[in-house]
């Protein structure tokens, strides 16, 4: 085997840098689209902030609505059975719950969009 056919030795010092890559913010963007470790970290930070927002909304749903059966079971336990508790049941489940849930949802949508804007700001360096 002749010396010419042998593959030439190359000195590798790092990942070849693409020519003409814009400095600064475009860097973070390509880290993300190319799924490097750093990009994954960016995505995880967004996931964490979105999950936190989601859990806040769920917690308020659980507190406002999820505890109602317990609340309604209490008067029965004390056995007063007054018609007033019936009226509270109608007002709470028939009417009040719906605007509460809608407001929770609106808060969540605004918050989630803000998280995304903040994230874009971070990534694009704005």
């Amino acid at each position: 085997m002749s010396a010419e056919q042998r593959p030439r030795r190359e000195v590798v010092t790092g990942v070849p840098r693409a020519a003409g890559r814009a400095p600064g913010h475009a860097h973070a963007r390509s880290e993300i689209t190319e799924h490097t470790t750093l990009g994954t970290t960016y995505v995880r930070s967004l996931m964490r902030s979105q999950l936190r927002t989601a859990l806040c909304a769920l917690a308020s749903l659980a507190l406002l609505v999820g505890t109602l059966p317990l609340f309604f079971a209490l008067p029965a336990a004390f056995d007063d059975g007054s018609p007033a508790s019936g009226a509270v049941l109608w007002a709470a489940l028939g009417v009040a719950v719906h605007p509460l849930m809608w407001l929770t949802a609106r808060w969540y949508v605004r918050r989630a969009e803000r998280n995304e804007r903040d994230f874009l700001g971070l990534v694009e360096g704005r």
Binding site: R29, I32, T33, H35, G39, T40, V43, L46, M47, Q50, L51, A54, A57, L58, L61, V65, G66, P69, L70, A73, A76, G81, P83, G86, L89, W90, L93, G94, V95, V97, H98, P99, M101, W102, T104, A105, R106, Y108, V109, A112, E113, E116, F119, L120, V123
Partner: protein, 582 residues
């Protein structure tokens, strides 16, 4: 009720559905149009379509009937149906849209990169879809029977034909228009008569509905009992009987029944005097009304059942096949969120109305509890309270709304089940195969609804929610938020969670469950089967950590990053995850 008005109203709804569907057909040109309306549906139209699709027979007729029978505890149903959308918005809406998945099986495959996970998910989509279609068809049969005296199968067949026709002809685009129209029709059909009824009720010195005592009849009432029932009297009752009571034949003469249990034969007509207490119907296992019975029961059973219902509806909505398909029609994740916010408003406004009918029914038509036709409360109230031509016209409007409810939910379900069948069962895709799949999707539940006439309607809907909450809720939530979910974990969780919920409810229905707590636990499985599904998925995923899908980081980035960062705005052509379909 005047049959001519009701038949005209129902025919008008059917015609309008076909007409709007046909208009869609002329617009719908490409395959992409056909499946997902090219993802250009704006949030307002899309939200009306989603709401129209979601508000089924159970909402339009069922809630009022349940409230009439059992009082305000039943309001947990509409609250749960609405809250389900809030949970869906918060946990899955935007990521599910960004996943690019058209059906839940597409999501399973895209996230887990596993054909096995896709097949199991498809199985559950078709199963839950059929469970949900069955009561729509049966409800249509019941409504048409009450309105016109047509045989019980006729309504189901009409709905099946119209829906299969509209879906197969126009696909998703026309369905979007049809369903948006049907939301507004349903809201109007319930709102206008409600205003008249409330006015009449106020003019009648606004009598209060009492739910803690047996309902009292306001005037002499003739009640026809179609099926043999057992009734319970807490004090002696004087009435006239034509037919059999306790095995003895009577021919229209006055009779005093002692307190305690009595058996009223099928076809008996009872004449109850004004001021009489309506006898309590004793429910048995095979009785349609028995499903929701434990909600109002004491000693902890009621509380447990209430939480069972809350978990099933709050978490089950996200896994209903016709709900998931709708996300794909939004242009991006942000629009998906805003659409769901609008849906919450629309559904919430609608749900203010059925309880009004339930309470008025308790005052003016309490004998419906005795005949077991409580679902008809919405339909008969205008005639009962207002009467005359005005009452008949309002009744016809309600009948039209009820039919819109069957049609819209059934078409959404057919669309999504047919989507899965055409992708995963039939050999090749394309519009022709989609049409074939539509027929398949509709034929099976139609056959069951004709053969099995006495499947309890409320059961099937509740069952669909419980199974969906125990299978797809863990898959979606863990798939979107937990990186370490593996294909074997997902498959195990789907089978253990969804399977156990299905088995438990089927066993209760079959009467295998022993009395007491075991019965309550099995009738309302969501409290234990949802955590079971989650735990199985997590445990098996941790045990099979080596099977982590290789592209998991890329997938999660796609699910959570806003579209303007990833540049994934592709307005035309259905994007499919690689290898989707096989």
């Amino acid at each position: 009720m005047n049959q001519a008005y009701a038949v005209t109203a129902v025919a008008a709804v059917v015609l309008a559905t076909l007409l709007i569907g046909g208009l869609g057909l002329r617009i719908s040109r490409t395959t992409s149009d056909f499946y997902v309306a090219s993802r250009t549906v704006n949030p307002g139209l899309n939200a009306a379509a989603i709401s129209g699709e979601y508000l089924s027979a159970a909402s339009f007729l069922g809630i009022a009937g349940l409230v009439l029978l059992q009082g305000p505890d039943m309001l947990w149903y509409p609250v749960g149906y609405t809250a389900g959308y809030l949970v869906l918005l918060v946990l899955v809406a935007a990521p599910l849209r960004r996943s690019g998945a058209y059906t839940l099986s597409d999501f399973a495959e895209a996230r887990l990169e596993s054909a096995a996970a896709r097949r199991i998910a498809s199985l559950f989509v078709v199963g839950i879809g059929w469970l949900y279609l069955l009561p729509q068809l049966q409800g249509a049969g019941l409504t048409l029977e009450i309105l016109t005296g047509a045989p019980g199968w006729a309504g189901g067949v009409i709905v099946a034909l119209v829906v299969a026709g509209a879906v197969a002809a126009g696909g998703m685009r026309s369905i979007t228009f049809v369903q948006a129209f049907q939301y507004w029709l349903k809201l109007t059909a319930l709102l206008v008569p409600a205003l008249f009824l409330i006015a009449a009720w106020t003019g009648d010195d606004a009598p209060r509905a009492r739910f803690d005592a047996p309902a009292v009849l306001r005037e002499h009432t003739e009640v026809r009992i179609d099926d043999t029932v057992r009734i319970e009297l807490d004090r002696p009752l004087t009435l006239t009987v034509s037919g059999s009571v306790d095995g003895q034949e009577h021919h229209g003469r006055a009779l005093t029944l002692a307190e305690g249990g009595h058996r009223v034969g099928a076809g008996t007509v009872l004449g109850l005097p004004a001021g009489a207490r309506v006898p309590t119907r004793v429910t048995s296992e095979a009785d349609p009304a028995s499903w929701s019975q434990p909600l109002s029961a004491g000693d902890g059973h009621g509380l447990y059942a209430t939480y069972g219902l809350i978990l099933a509806t709050f978490l089950g909505t996200m896994g209903l096949p016709h709900v998931a398909v709708r996300f794909y029609t939004s242009p991006d994740g942000r629009a998906a969120r805003r659409t769901i916010l609008a849906v919450l408003g629309m559904v919430g406004v609608f749900y203010l109305l059925p309880p009004v009918y339930g309470a008025l029914g308790r005052i003016y038509a309490p004998e419906l509890a005795l005949t077991g036709d409580a679902d008809a409360a919405v339909l008969v109230l205008p005639e009962r309270i207002i009467g005359g031509t005005a009452g008949e016209l309002l009744g016809a409007l309600l009948a039209a709304g009820a039919f819109a409810a069957f049609l819209s939910t059934a078409s959404g379900l057919t669309m999504s089940v047919a989507g899965v069948i055409s992708q995963d069962v039939l050999p090749s895709r394309g519009v022709r195969h989609f049409r074939l799949a539509t027929l398949l999707a509709m034929a099976v539940p139609l056959a069951v609804s004709v053969v099995a006439t006495h499947v309890p309607v409320a059961d099937a809907v509740g069952l669909a929610f419980a199974v969906s909450a125990s299978s797809f809720c863990p898959l979606l939530v863990l798939g979107i938020w937990w990186r370490r979910l593996t294909p074997p974990g997902a498959v195990a969780g789907l089978i253990v969670g969804g399977g156990s919920a299905l088995t438990a409810v089927m066993a209760t229905r079959a009467g295998i469950a022993p009395e007491g707590w075991a019965h309550t636990l099995m009738a309302w499985p969501a409290v234990w089967s949802v955590p079971l599904g989650f735990l199985t998925m997590i445990a098996v995923s941790l045990a099979t950590a080596r099977r982590l899908p290789p592209g998991v980081d890329a997938t999660l980035a796609r699910l959570h990053l806003p579209e303007d960062l990833t540049g994934r705005h592709r307005p035309e052509g259905p994007e499919r995850p690689e290898g989707a379909g096989r």
